[in-house]
Amino acid sequence: MSFPLLTATAVLPALGAIATAAVPAARRVAAKWLALLVSLGTLALAAVTLARFDPDGARYQLTESHAWIPDFGVRYQLGVDGIGVALVALTALLMPFVILAGWHDADPHETGSRRWRPTQGFFALILAVEAMVIISFEATDVFLFYIFFEAMLIPMYFLIGGFGDRAHEHGDEAAATQRSYAAVKFLLYNLVGGLIMLAAVIGLYVVAGSFSLQEIVHARADGSLHMATSTERWLFLGFFFAFAVKAPLWPLHTWLPNAMGEATAPVAVLITAVVDKVGTFAMLRFCLQLFPEASKWATPAILVLALISIVYGALLAVGQRDIKRLVAYASISHFGFIILGIFAMTTQGQSGATLYMVNHGISTAALMLVAGFLISRRGSRLIADYGGVQKVAPVLAGTFLIGGLATLSLPGLAPFVSEFLVLVGTFTRYPVVGIIATFGIVLAALYTLVLYQRTMTGPVKAEVAEMPDLRVRELLVVAPLIALLIFLGVYPKPITDIVNPAVKQTMSDVQKKDPQPEVEAAK
């Protein structure tokens, strides 16, 4: 038996989480280093996975399969396709930066019980989320996926509710209340989505008699498993609802601004760049493959919702006065693009959507983490409290600008490629939808540039006059992310090469072909 690489990628952070949690209260710093080392180790494992993955090989690679709960028909079944491996790599890549950016976010500032160890808890929870996210990208058993899809809510919930911006915490009961409100809202939205999915998961088992993704897909393809149209639609809706809450898609998006606004910047990155990707990933992997007919049936409605997400998210981002909430609404707009790309049912669209997931992860991480550094300096999330920062902290302002430009998909930076692919892919099948979606880009330029202008340019406000520039630790976080944004903006081939075969495979599962360009016959 070969080395279970996929399991190891998920188990390492899980063990790291336990070890980090067990570090004694006095040795906080050791816990941080331990967490960082574990996340780097996971990154190394993910890199090996990526290297071992053969884009032109079998559909699912590095597969592992063991009996787990035969009574439920559940197997511990892992395997990655191009889409999965790209997202595992993204997750493993972002974690060291998240941990490094949150280095001081959980230092205890009050004397609690001797046993109260917030720092250890913070980093252990981050690693726990990493482990669960990775395994849900790898699971090819619907039940296994569901378990971790749901279970990751719990550490996420404690991260949102338990740790706020340090500047807000001192003596601010209201901030604590808002934070626990945001955490509860996050959990309830996702739990309701998850429970509805549970009903659908059980329904799928009753219909299909198996939880194995491949088995079900095969059985459907060769006709041995017949699903009544209405059954398929109901099951699809059950799955899609959960993923749409997670993604999030309008009108199920309202938890995201609360959660991202109240959580610390690294946790906000964890939510939007990593955890939410499970939702869009699952649409590609489970909704389209398990329920191809229902997916096609629901496409028009989903496209409309995605369009609303794009435009509505962008419009609300323009109106935000709070930096973190602005990024949250921008993310909603971007998730609209991802979902649009997935359900446009064209190769470019789905490749673009997968690429978008990766790029959005990196660009939002860059923007949000720099914003977090900014906020921790001034102690306020309000845009109006800033002004002229570029004169006192030019490096901070510069990196913030690059993050912002990536968010608005400036050509030359990574998100441009993916957004372009999504729009082209949509346009070839649904021209009108493509045209409307393009307005999202215009609005993105508006909210990003206005944000930059109000906070960074203009006269220097008295409160920011003493603001220090980025420190070495912070530069270590930002510089690699920006380098990646530029690299993937110029040369996205490494990712598209991995992703494309998987997307083609998915397209053939849904039995969709790209629309052929119509050439007017010469007379």
Binding site: W68, I69, E150, L153, I154, A176, L198, I202, V206
Partner: protein, 549 residues
Amino acid sequence: MSASAVHSLWTTAAEPISKIDAPKIEYAQLSPTLIVIGAAVVGVLIEAFVPRKSRYYAQVFVAVVALAAAFSAVVALAASGYGTTKAHIAAMGAIAVDGPALFLQGTILLAGILGVFTFAERRLDPQAHGNRVDAFAAQASAVPGSDTEKAAVKAGFTTTEVFPLLLFAISGMLVFPSANDLLTLFVALEVFSLPLYLLCAVARRKRLMSQEAAVKYFLLGAFASAFTLFGIALLYGYAGSVSYATIAHVVDGTITNVDPALAGTMGNDVLLLIGTALVVMGLLFKVGAVPFHMWTPDVYQGAPTPVTGFMAAATKVAAFGALLRLLYVVLPGLRWDWRPVMWAVAVVTMLGGAIVAITQTDIKRLLAYSSIAHAGFILAGVIATSPDGVSSVLFYLGAYSFVTIGAFAVVTLVRDAGGEATHLSKWAGLGRRSPLVAAVFAVFLLAFAGIPLTSGFAGKFAVFKAAAEGGAGALVVVGVISSAIAAFFYIRVIVLMFFSEPKPEGPTVAVPSPLTMTAIAAGVAVTLVLGVAPQYFLNLASQAGVFVR
């Protein structure tokens, strides 16, 4: 009644007495119950003859040894095949020895051992006049607040009678799910109910509330028992027998050699339907299903917390066991009549428990309503009417009882000057003060909420899957909706513990003796093991899922 029938009765009665054979009793197969009853009798003797100082130790010793021995007996019976191939009816048709019975007896005995541990806890309450005391009144017969009571406290009395009472209750519970005729069922019902009524009344603190709880429980329980008995009488009228097998035959219409004396009423569906309804009502009362749940919150709140924990776990196990046997063995032929009713009961139980729990401000009442919601989930599995349904209910009951005992054991730890601090507002910030206790309680709450990787999820999945396969898809949808509602109040407690600032005058967390610690640790361990690797226990439950007829 015709003259000849009277004559036949009379002549039968006049037969020579020597023709009655001595009953044939399979002592080895009934040993779990017999051991526990024997130990309970020994416990009574200890009360009478052992000096007061050493009674506590003697009682705890006898109880633990007896329960452990009974559990070994159950395991031995199961290992020698009585759960599967050798399953049969023992004790002249009164007791079934089969998979479900042994599985549930094992669960009840384990819950009983943990129950004894929490009963025996003597480190939590502050010492009274230099004596370590437990959660039970110094002298249950002393009027609260009277001089007698003060004298009893001063003398360092403790109510060690709780241990024999507990053993009697357990013995009744062991018989209840294995009863194979209606009379045995009723006797077992009374044998386990009466000690529980008493146990509810003997709290050391808040004695009036405890007594009130006991009176409520007793009155409502007595009504429920009366209904059950009435139902049994009607079923006897219908079938001419109290034996499960005979009633089942009459329901199926496959009965031979009808007693001519009973031919007049026999097969009268009115008697059958009303009788069934009344008997099932009595069982639903014990289970705590809406609309027979009214006693649950008051009794759970008023009873001494160790009693609540034991009762919440073991009574449910026993009562669901009896309900399963009744519905699957006696009344499968009546399935089309009872299923719609049970559907309705399950729906209102799930939704009612979950919705009312939201407004609760007392942790014990909250757990009471949560137990009602859980009764609804289990009913969903009962309704499946398939072998999967039985095994899923068995699994759920096993998982649930450990979570429950553990959760109530944690409740006993959180204390302030007035004893246990059960008001939710006092739990604010517990996570900051005692992270470990709060984390353990959070694990139990997450299990109640059915979050994956806990036993609660595995159980919930099992019953919902069985229900969906049994064609009760709509019930599953109601189930997930009420799970979502229920999740709200479990999470609310977690929010309170971890995200609220601790209050300066808040409660402290007492450090328990190894006894309670064992109970809590066992609860956590089972919760996590059944959540991550439930296969072994699912196997056990599905092997045990066949009733003998």
